[in-house]
Protein backbone atom coordinates (compact mmCIF):
# COMPACT_ATOMS: atom_id res chain seq x y z
CA UNK A 1 0.00 0.00 0.00
CA UNK A 2 2.68 2.47 0.98
CA UNK A 3 5.00 1.69 -1.86
CA UNK A 4 8.48 3.16 -1.78
CA UNK A 5 7.58 5.10 -4.90
CA UNK A 6 5.09 7.27 -3.04
CA UNK A 7 7.96 9.13 -1.44
CA UNK A 8 9.62 9.90 -4.74
CA UNK A 9 9.13 13.08 -6.65
CA UNK A 10 8.01 11.77 -10.03
CA UNK A 11 10.00 9.30 -12.07
CA UNK A 12 13.72 9.75 -12.41
CA UNK A 13 14.68 11.38 -15.69
CA UNK A 14 17.39 9.37 -17.49
CA UNK A 15 20.85 10.14 -16.13
CA UNK A 16 22.75 12.18 -18.71
CA UNK A 17 26.47 11.69 -19.20
CA UNK A 18 27.18 15.42 -18.88
CA UNK A 19 25.79 18.17 -16.69
CA UNK A 20 26.97 21.74 -16.13
CA UNK A 21 26.77 21.14 -12.39
CA UNK A 22 26.18 18.14 -10.16
CA UNK A 23 24.80 18.56 -6.67
CA UNK A 24 25.35 15.77 -4.14
CA UNK A 25 22.36 15.53 -1.81
CA UNK A 26 18.65 16.18 -2.28
CA UNK A 27 18.31 17.99 1.02
CA UNK A 28 17.29 21.59 1.43
CA UNK A 29 20.70 23.00 0.64
CA UNK A 30 21.15 20.95 -2.52
CA UNK A 31 17.62 21.61 -3.79
CA UNK A 32 17.75 25.32 -2.97
CA UNK A 33 21.04 25.71 -4.84
CA UNK A 34 19.59 23.86 -7.84
CA UNK A 35 16.48 26.03 -7.75
CA UNK A 36 18.46 29.28 -7.69
CA UNK A 37 20.90 28.08 -10.36
CA UNK A 38 17.92 27.50 -12.63
CA UNK A 39 15.85 30.56 -11.76
CA UNK A 40 18.51 33.22 -11.20
CA UNK A 41 21.35 32.13 -13.43
CA UNK A 42 19.64 30.27 -16.24
CA UNK A 43 21.66 27.13 -15.44
CA UNK A 44 19.21 24.32 -16.04
CA UNK A 45 21.51 21.52 -17.15
CA UNK A 46 21.94 20.59 -13.50
CA UNK A 47 21.58 17.27 -11.67
CA UNK A 48 20.71 16.77 -8.03
CA UNK A 49 21.88 13.29 -7.03
CA UNK A 50 20.09 11.89 -3.99
CA UNK A 51 21.00 8.51 -2.52
CA UNK A 52 17.53 7.84 -1.04
CA UNK A 53 14.68 10.30 -1.69
CA UNK A 54 14.46 14.06 -1.37
CA UNK A 55 14.09 15.10 2.26
CA UNK A 56 15.40 11.77 3.55
CA UNK A 57 18.18 13.49 5.50
CA UNK A 58 17.98 16.22 8.09
CA UNK A 59 15.82 18.25 5.69
CA UNK A 60 12.81 16.07 6.51
CA UNK A 61 13.69 15.40 10.14
CA UNK A 62 14.28 18.82 11.63
CA UNK A 63 11.96 20.59 14.02
CA UNK A 64 11.44 23.41 11.52
CA UNK A 65 12.36 26.33 13.76
CA UNK A 66 13.39 29.55 12.04
CA UNK A 67 14.84 32.71 13.60
CA UNK A 68 17.35 35.45 12.91
CA UNK A 69 18.73 36.32 16.35
CA UNK A 70 22.12 34.68 16.06
CA UNK A 71 25.11 36.22 17.83
CA UNK A 72 27.91 37.12 15.47
CA UNK A 73 28.11 39.91 12.91
CA UNK A 74 28.91 37.40 10.17
CA UNK A 75 25.90 35.16 10.85
CA UNK A 76 23.21 37.77 11.51
CA UNK A 77 22.79 39.28 7.99
CA UNK A 78 22.58 35.82 6.45
CA UNK A 79 19.85 34.63 8.80
CA UNK A 80 17.96 37.91 8.51
CA UNK A 81 17.80 37.55 4.75
CA UNK A 82 16.75 33.92 5.19
CA UNK A 83 13.85 34.88 7.43
CA UNK A 84 12.72 37.59 5.01
CA UNK A 85 12.72 35.06 2.16
CA UNK A 86 9.91 32.78 3.40
CA UNK A 87 6.97 34.96 2.29
CA UNK A 88 8.75 35.79 -0.97
CA UNK A 89 9.37 32.13 -1.76
CA UNK A 90 5.86 31.09 -0.79
CA UNK A 91 4.59 33.32 -3.58
CA UNK A 92 7.33 32.54 -6.03
CA UNK A 93 7.06 28.76 -5.63
CA UNK A 94 3.27 28.95 -5.51
CA UNK A 95 3.47 26.42 -2.70
CA UNK A 96 2.16 26.95 0.81
CA UNK A 97 5.29 26.76 2.97
CA UNK A 98 3.17 27.33 6.09
CA UNK A 99 5.37 30.04 7.55
CA UNK A 100 3.99 30.57 11.05
CA UNK A 101 5.82 33.56 12.53
CA UNK A 102 4.74 32.95 16.10
CA UNK A 103 7.97 34.28 17.62
CA UNK A 104 10.73 32.62 19.63
CA UNK A 105 11.28 32.96 23.35
CA UNK A 106 14.69 31.87 24.58
CA UNK A 107 14.96 31.44 28.35
CA UNK A 108 17.83 32.53 30.59
CA UNK A 109 18.42 30.65 33.83
CA UNK A 110 21.19 32.74 35.39
CA UNK A 111 22.40 36.34 35.64
CA UNK A 112 25.25 35.41 33.32
CA UNK A 113 22.83 34.11 30.71
CA UNK A 114 20.81 37.34 30.90
CA UNK A 115 24.00 39.33 30.29
CA UNK A 116 24.95 37.15 27.33
CA UNK A 117 21.46 37.68 25.92
CA UNK A 118 21.77 41.44 26.35
CA UNK A 119 24.73 41.34 23.96
CA UNK A 120 22.94 39.00 21.57
CA UNK A 121 19.83 41.22 21.54
CA UNK A 122 21.94 44.33 20.92
CA UNK A 123 23.77 42.62 18.04
CA UNK A 124 20.49 41.61 16.42
CA UNK A 125 19.02 45.09 16.87
CA UNK A 126 22.13 46.58 15.29
CA UNK A 127 21.21 44.64 12.14
CA UNK A 128 17.61 45.79 12.28
CA UNK A 129 16.35 42.46 13.58
CA UNK A 130 13.55 42.64 16.12
CA UNK A 131 14.68 41.14 19.42
CA UNK A 132 14.03 42.18 23.03
CA UNK A 133 15.19 41.27 26.47
CA UNK A 134 12.24 40.29 28.68
CA UNK A 135 11.93 39.74 32.44
CA UNK A 136 10.38 36.63 34.04
CA UNK A 137 6.98 38.30 34.34
CA UNK A 138 6.98 39.15 30.64
CA UNK A 139 7.99 35.55 29.89
CA UNK A 140 4.93 34.43 31.82
CA UNK A 141 2.72 36.86 29.89
CA UNK A 142 4.00 35.40 26.63
CA UNK A 143 3.69 31.79 27.79
CA UNK A 144 1.33 31.52 30.78
CA UNK A 145 2.18 27.83 31.23
CA UNK A 146 5.79 28.63 32.16
CA UNK A 147 6.84 28.03 35.75
CA UNK A 148 8.61 31.24 36.77
CA UNK A 149 8.78 30.39 40.47
CA UNK A 150 12.01 29.29 42.15
CA UNK A 151 10.76 25.68 42.16
CA UNK A 152 12.48 24.41 39.00
CA UNK A 153 16.07 23.26 39.26
CA UNK A 154 17.10 26.22 37.07
CA UNK A 155 14.63 29.08 37.69
CA UNK A 156 13.87 31.54 34.89
CA UNK A 157 15.82 34.81 35.17
CA UNK A 158 14.52 36.33 31.95
CA UNK A 159 14.54 35.73 28.26
CA UNK A 160 15.12 36.92 24.75
CA UNK A 161 12.00 37.42 22.66
CA UNK A 162 12.27 37.45 18.88
CA UNK A 163 8.80 38.06 17.34
CA UNK A 164 9.56 37.54 13.59
CA UNK A 165 10.83 33.96 14.02
CA UNK A 166 8.72 30.83 14.23
CA UNK A 167 8.11 27.67 12.24
CA UNK A 168 8.04 26.75 8.56
CA UNK A 169 6.77 23.43 7.23
CA UNK A 170 10.02 21.69 6.28
CA UNK A 171 8.58 19.06 3.93
CA UNK A 172 6.75 21.79 2.04
CA UNK A 173 10.05 23.60 1.49
CA UNK A 174 11.67 20.39 0.21
CA UNK A 175 8.83 19.69 -2.22
CA UNK A 176 8.33 23.31 -3.23
CA UNK A 177 11.97 23.75 -4.17
CA UNK A 178 12.21 20.35 -5.86
CA UNK A 179 9.12 20.99 -7.98
CA UNK A 180 10.30 24.50 -8.81
CA UNK A 181 13.71 23.25 -9.89
CA UNK A 182 12.36 20.24 -11.82
CA UNK A 183 9.88 22.46 -13.66
CA UNK A 184 12.81 24.48 -14.99
CA UNK A 185 14.65 21.42 -16.22
CA UNK A 186 16.82 20.40 -13.29
CA UNK A 187 17.16 16.61 -13.10
CA UNK A 188 16.53 15.17 -9.68
CA UNK A 189 17.91 11.63 -9.53
CA UNK A 190 16.57 9.85 -6.48
CA UNK A 191 17.79 6.43 -5.41
CA UNK A 192 21.19 7.28 -6.88
CA UNK A 193 24.40 7.56 -4.85
CA UNK A 194 27.52 9.52 -5.70
CA UNK A 195 30.47 7.18 -5.21
CA UNK A 196 33.41 9.33 -6.23
CA UNK A 197 34.71 12.63 -7.60
CA UNK A 198 37.43 12.57 -10.24
CA UNK A 199 39.96 15.40 -10.46
CA UNK A 200 42.21 16.12 -13.44
CA UNK A 201 44.90 18.81 -13.30
CA UNK A 202 43.47 20.17 -10.06
CA UNK A 203 39.98 20.54 -11.55
CA UNK A 204 36.80 18.54 -11.13
CA UNK A 205 36.36 16.40 -14.26
CA UNK A 206 33.62 13.93 -13.44
CA UNK A 207 31.52 12.35 -10.76
CA UNK A 208 30.94 8.62 -10.32
CA UNK A 209 27.52 7.36 -9.32
CA UNK A 210 26.14 3.87 -8.83
CA UNK A 211 24.20 4.44 -12.08
CA UNK A 212 27.13 5.63 -14.16
CA UNK A 213 29.68 8.38 -14.67
CA UNK A 214 28.75 12.04 -15.15
CA UNK A 215 31.11 14.52 -16.78
CA UNK A 216 30.96 17.89 -15.12
CA UNK A 217 33.28 20.71 -14.10
CA UNK A 218 31.30 21.72 -11.01
CA UNK A 219 30.17 19.67 -8.07
CA UNK A 220 28.54 20.80 -4.85
CA UNK A 221 28.91 18.71 -1.72
CA UNK A 222 25.59 19.22 0.08
CA UNK A 223 25.40 15.75 1.60
CA UNK A 224 24.48 16.93 5.10
CA UNK A 225 25.58 14.43 7.75
CA UNK A 226 27.63 12.56 5.15
CA UNK A 227 29.37 15.61 3.69
CA UNK A 228 32.54 15.26 5.76
CA UNK A 229 32.88 11.51 5.19
CA UNK A 230 32.42 12.01 1.42
CA UNK A 231 34.89 14.89 1.30
CA UNK A 232 37.53 12.70 2.92
CA UNK A 233 36.70 9.52 0.97
CA UNK A 234 36.46 11.16 -2.44
CA UNK A 235 39.11 13.89 -2.25
CA UNK A 236 41.10 13.33 0.95
CA UNK A 237 39.92 16.73 2.19
CA UNK A 238 39.32 16.51 5.92
CA UNK A 239 36.80 18.84 7.52
CA UNK A 240 36.48 20.13 11.08
CA UNK A 241 33.20 18.30 11.56
CA UNK A 242 31.78 15.83 14.05
CA UNK A 243 28.64 13.97 13.05
CA UNK A 244 26.21 13.50 15.92
CA UNK A 245 22.74 11.96 16.05
CA UNK A 246 20.17 14.49 17.24
CA UNK A 247 16.86 13.31 18.63
CA UNK A 248 13.38 14.81 18.51
CA UNK A 249 9.88 13.82 19.55
CA UNK A 250 6.24 14.93 19.69
CA UNK A 251 3.61 14.50 22.37
CA UNK A 252 0.00 13.53 21.95
CA UNK A 253 -2.15 16.43 20.66
CA UNK A 254 -3.27 18.95 23.30
CA UNK A 255 -5.50 21.99 23.25
CA UNK A 256 -3.59 25.20 22.42
CA UNK A 257 -1.29 26.25 25.27
CA UNK A 258 2.02 27.23 23.71
CA UNK A 259 1.84 30.08 21.23
CA UNK A 260 5.56 30.64 20.70
CA UNK A 261 8.65 28.56 20.19
CA UNK A 262 10.27 28.26 23.63
CA UNK A 263 13.85 27.20 24.10
CA UNK A 264 16.29 26.82 26.94
CA UNK A 265 20.01 26.36 26.48
CA UNK A 266 20.40 25.39 30.11
CA UNK A 267 17.92 22.53 29.94
CA UNK A 268 19.04 21.80 26.42
CA UNK A 269 15.46 21.72 25.28
CA UNK A 270 13.14 23.52 22.92
CA UNK A 271 9.44 23.12 22.30
CA UNK A 272 6.61 24.46 20.23
CA UNK A 273 3.05 23.42 19.64
CA UNK A 274 2.21 22.32 16.13
CA UNK A 275 -1.03 23.35 14.46
CA UNK A 276 -2.23 19.78 15.13
CA UNK A 277 -1.76 20.36 18.86
CA UNK A 278 1.29 18.19 19.44
CA UNK A 279 4.21 19.59 21.42
CA UNK A 280 7.25 19.12 19.19
CA UNK A 281 10.41 19.07 21.23
CA UNK A 282 14.04 18.16 20.95
CA UNK A 283 17.63 19.34 21.21
CA UNK A 284 19.52 16.38 22.53
CA UNK A 285 22.53 15.18 20.67
CA UNK A 286 24.48 12.07 21.39
CA UNK A 287 27.75 13.09 23.04
CA UNK A 288 29.78 10.97 20.62
CA UNK A 289 29.85 10.88 16.82
CA UNK A 290 27.61 8.33 15.18
CA UNK A 291 25.49 7.81 12.10
CA UNK A 292 22.76 5.68 13.69
CA UNK A 293 19.81 8.12 13.66
CA UNK A 294 18.46 6.13 16.59
CA UNK A 295 16.53 7.40 19.58
CA UNK A 296 17.72 6.33 23.00
CA UNK A 297 15.69 5.76 26.17
CA UNK A 298 18.31 7.85 27.97
CA UNK A 299 17.48 11.00 26.04
CA UNK A 300 13.72 10.47 25.86
CA UNK A 301 13.75 10.41 29.66
CA UNK A 302 16.03 13.42 29.78
CA UNK A 303 13.80 15.34 27.37
CA UNK A 304 10.68 14.59 29.41
CA UNK A 305 12.39 15.76 32.59
CA UNK A 306 13.72 18.98 31.07
CA UNK A 307 10.45 19.88 29.35
CA UNK A 308 8.30 19.40 32.45
CA UNK A 309 10.69 21.48 34.58
CA UNK A 310 9.72 24.72 32.87
CA UNK A 311 6.33 23.59 31.52
CA UNK A 312 5.02 21.56 34.49
CA UNK A 313 1.51 21.29 32.98
CA UNK A 314 2.95 18.73 30.55
CA UNK A 315 3.55 16.20 33.33
CA UNK A 316 1.85 12.91 32.49
CA UNK A 317 1.50 13.72 28.79
CA UNK A 318 2.68 10.94 26.48
CA UNK A 319 5.27 11.13 23.73
CA UNK A 320 3.59 9.85 20.61
CA UNK A 321 6.44 9.62 18.11
CA UNK A 322 10.17 10.09 18.13
CA UNK A 323 12.85 10.15 15.45
CA UNK A 324 16.39 11.32 14.93
CA UNK A 325 18.65 12.78 12.28
CA UNK A 326 22.28 13.68 11.77
CA UNK A 327 23.95 16.95 12.64
CA UNK A 328 27.31 17.85 11.13
CA UNK A 329 28.79 20.02 13.89
CA UNK A 330 31.75 22.38 13.51
CA UNK A 331 33.81 23.62 16.49
CA UNK A 332 32.53 27.21 16.13
CA UNK A 333 28.90 26.30 15.37
CA UNK A 334 29.10 28.10 12.03
CA UNK A 335 28.82 26.40 8.64
CA UNK A 336 31.42 25.89 5.94
CA UNK A 337 30.45 27.49 2.63
CA UNK A 338 33.40 27.41 0.33
CA UNK A 339 34.55 26.39 -3.10
CA UNK A 340 37.06 26.54 -5.90
CA UNK A 341 39.86 26.45 -3.41
CA UNK A 342 41.81 23.21 -2.99
CA UNK A 343 40.15 21.72 -6.06
CA UNK A 344 38.78 23.92 -8.82
CA UNK A 345 35.08 23.30 -9.30
CA UNK A 346 34.59 21.58 -5.94
CA UNK A 347 32.10 23.47 -3.75
CA UNK A 348 31.04 22.70 -0.21
CA UNK A 349 27.98 23.71 1.76
CA UNK A 350 28.08 21.77 5.01
CA UNK A 351 28.74 21.89 8.73
CA UNK A 352 25.21 23.12 9.32
CA UNK A 353 24.76 21.14 12.48
CA UNK A 354 21.31 21.60 13.92
CA UNK A 355 20.65 25.03 12.43
CA UNK A 356 20.71 24.47 8.70
CA UNK A 357 17.00 24.53 7.96
CA UNK A 358 16.40 28.22 8.63
CA UNK A 359 19.29 29.23 6.40
CA UNK A 360 18.82 26.75 3.58
CA UNK A 361 17.15 29.00 1.04
CA UNK A 362 19.44 32.00 1.39
CA UNK A 363 22.46 29.69 1.27
CA UNK A 364 21.15 28.13 -1.91
CA UNK A 365 20.81 31.58 -3.39
CA UNK A 366 24.42 32.54 -2.67
CA UNK A 367 25.94 29.14 -3.42
CA UNK A 368 24.18 29.25 -6.79
CA UNK A 369 25.70 32.68 -7.45
CA UNK A 370 29.11 31.32 -6.44
CA UNK A 371 28.82 28.26 -8.68
CA UNK A 372 27.45 30.18 -11.67
CA UNK A 373 29.95 33.03 -11.60
CA UNK A 374 32.94 31.48 -9.84
CA UNK A 375 33.06 34.55 -7.63
CA UNK A 376 32.89 34.09 -3.89
CA UNK A 377 29.96 36.24 -2.64
CA UNK A 378 31.00 38.69 0.12
CA UNK A 379 28.36 37.40 2.54
CA UNK A 380 29.80 33.86 2.35
CA UNK A 381 33.48 34.76 2.74
CA UNK A 382 33.60 34.63 6.54
CA UNK A 383 32.51 30.99 6.28
CA UNK A 384 35.58 29.80 4.41
CA UNK A 385 37.19 26.53 5.47
CA UNK A 386 40.45 28.45 5.80
CA UNK A 387 39.24 30.17 8.94
CA UNK A 388 40.21 27.10 10.93
CA UNK A 389 43.79 27.06 9.63
CA UNK A 390 43.97 30.80 10.26
CA UNK A 391 42.60 30.35 13.78
CA UNK A 392 39.68 32.70 13.20
CA UNK A 393 36.91 30.62 14.71
CA UNK A 394 33.57 32.39 14.96
CA UNK A 395 31.92 33.11 18.28
CA UNK A 396 28.56 31.54 17.52
CA UNK A 397 29.07 28.82 20.17
CA UNK A 398 28.67 31.39 22.92
CA UNK A 399 25.06 31.95 21.91
CA UNK A 400 24.15 28.31 22.31
CA UNK A 401 25.76 27.31 25.60
CA UNK A 402 26.78 23.81 24.58
CA UNK A 403 26.03 21.46 21.76
CA UNK A 404 26.67 18.12 23.26
CA UNK A 405 25.94 16.86 26.70
CA UNK A 406 29.63 16.86 27.50
CA UNK A 407 31.00 19.99 25.91
Amino acid sequence: MFSKKKRLLGDNPPLKSTYDAVIIGGGLHGLATAYFLATRHGMTNVAVIEKRFIGFGAAGRNTAIVRANQRTQENLPLYKEALDLWPVLTKELDFNLMFYNCGNLNLAHSEAAVKAMRLQVASAQFHGIESHLVDPQQCKELVPALDITDKPRYPIYGGMYHPPGGIVRHDAVVWGLAKGAAKRGVHIHQGTAVTGINVENGKVASVDTDKGKIHTSRVLNAAGGYSAALSYDFLGIRLPISVLTIQAMVTQPLKPLLHHVVSSGMYHCYANQTLKGEIATGAHMDAWPNYTTQNTAHYIKHQAEALTEFLPCLKGIKFMRCWAGLADMTPDMAPIMDGNDQVEGYYMDCGWGYFGFKSSTVTGKYMAEFMATGEYPEILKPFTLRRFKEHRLMGETAALVSYSADN
Binding site: P240, I241, S242, V243, A287, Y291, F388, E390
Partner: protein, 91 residues
Amino acid sequence: MALTITCPICGKRNGYEFRYGGEDKGPRPDEAGLTPEDWCDYAHMNNCVAGVQKEWWCHRDGCGSWFTICRDTTTNLEVAEPAASAEAEAK
Protein backbone atom coordinates in the same frame (compact mmCIF):
# COMPACT_ATOMS: atom_id res chain seq x y z
CA MET B 1 21.58 0.80 20.17
CA ALA B 2 22.85 0.81 23.66
CA LEU B 3 26.42 1.94 23.77
CA THR B 4 28.79 -0.01 25.98
CA ILE B 5 32.51 0.69 26.29
CA THR B 6 35.17 -1.58 27.69
CA CYS B 7 37.44 0.23 30.13
CA PRO B 8 40.81 -1.53 30.46
CA ILE B 9 40.52 -1.25 34.25
CA CYS B 10 36.81 -1.55 35.05
CA GLY B 11 35.67 -3.72 32.13
CA LYS B 12 32.52 -3.35 30.02
CA ARG B 13 30.30 -0.54 31.29
CA ASN B 14 27.34 1.61 30.22
CA GLY B 15 28.51 4.10 27.56
CA TYR B 16 27.04 7.06 29.41
CA GLU B 17 29.77 6.68 32.06
CA PHE B 18 32.32 7.73 29.47
CA ARG B 19 33.40 10.86 27.70
CA TYR B 20 34.29 10.71 24.02
CA GLY B 21 37.76 12.08 23.34
CA GLY B 22 37.95 12.24 19.56
CA GLU B 23 39.27 10.18 16.69
CA ASP B 24 42.66 8.60 17.31
CA LYS B 25 44.99 10.85 15.29
CA GLY B 26 48.26 9.41 16.50
CA PRO B 27 50.69 11.15 18.84
CA ARG B 28 50.38 14.85 19.54
CA PRO B 29 52.62 16.67 17.04
CA ASP B 30 56.03 17.88 18.15
CA GLU B 31 55.97 21.54 19.07
CA ALA B 32 59.31 22.26 17.45
CA GLY B 33 58.58 23.43 13.91
CA LEU B 34 54.81 23.02 14.33
CA THR B 35 52.85 25.13 11.80
CA PRO B 36 49.38 26.52 12.47
CA GLU B 37 48.10 24.29 9.64
CA ASP B 38 49.53 21.16 11.25
CA TRP B 39 48.08 22.09 14.59
CA CYS B 40 44.68 22.77 13.01
CA ASP B 41 44.84 19.38 11.32
CA TYR B 42 45.51 17.69 14.62
CA ALA B 43 43.05 19.70 16.69
CA HIS B 44 40.05 20.11 14.38
CA MET B 45 40.12 17.97 11.25
CA ASN B 46 38.32 14.63 11.28
CA ASN B 47 37.94 11.70 8.92
CA CYS B 48 34.32 11.23 10.08
CA VAL B 49 34.36 7.54 9.22
CA ALA B 50 30.96 5.98 8.69
CA GLY B 51 32.16 2.57 9.82
CA VAL B 52 34.90 1.34 12.14
CA GLN B 53 37.16 3.94 13.66
CA LYS B 54 39.75 3.97 16.43
CA GLU B 55 38.95 6.58 19.05
CA TRP B 56 39.74 7.90 22.51
CA TRP B 57 37.45 7.57 25.52
CA CYS B 58 37.74 8.57 29.18
CA HIS B 59 36.02 6.64 31.95
CA ARG B 60 34.70 9.90 33.38
CA ASP B 61 32.26 8.49 35.94
CA GLY B 62 34.59 5.62 36.82
CA CYS B 63 38.32 5.24 37.22
CA GLY B 64 39.15 8.28 35.08
CA SER B 65 41.53 6.52 32.70
CA TRP B 66 41.97 7.42 29.01
CA PHE B 67 42.24 4.61 26.46
CA THR B 68 41.41 3.79 22.83
CA ILE B 69 38.82 1.41 21.44
CA CYS B 70 37.45 0.63 17.98
CA ARG B 71 33.80 1.36 17.37
CA ASP B 72 31.47 1.08 14.40
CA THR B 73 29.94 4.55 14.10
CA THR B 74 26.99 3.17 12.12
CA THR B 75 25.87 0.85 14.94
CA ASN B 76 27.51 2.30 18.08
CA LEU B 77 28.95 -1.15 18.77
CA GLU B 78 32.47 -1.62 20.07
CA VAL B 79 34.41 -3.94 17.76
CA ALA B 80 37.80 -5.61 17.71
CA GLU B 81 40.65 -3.68 16.10
CA PRO B 82 40.33 -4.40 12.33
CA ALA B 83 43.91 -5.69 11.85
CA ALA B 84 43.61 -7.93 14.89
CA SER B 85 40.31 -9.41 13.71
CA ALA B 86 41.74 -10.10 10.24
CA GLU B 87 44.55 -12.01 11.94
CA ALA B 88 42.04 -13.95 14.01
CA GLU B 89 40.10 -14.87 10.86
CA ALA B 90 43.30 -16.06 9.20
CA LYS B 91 43.86 -18.45 12.11
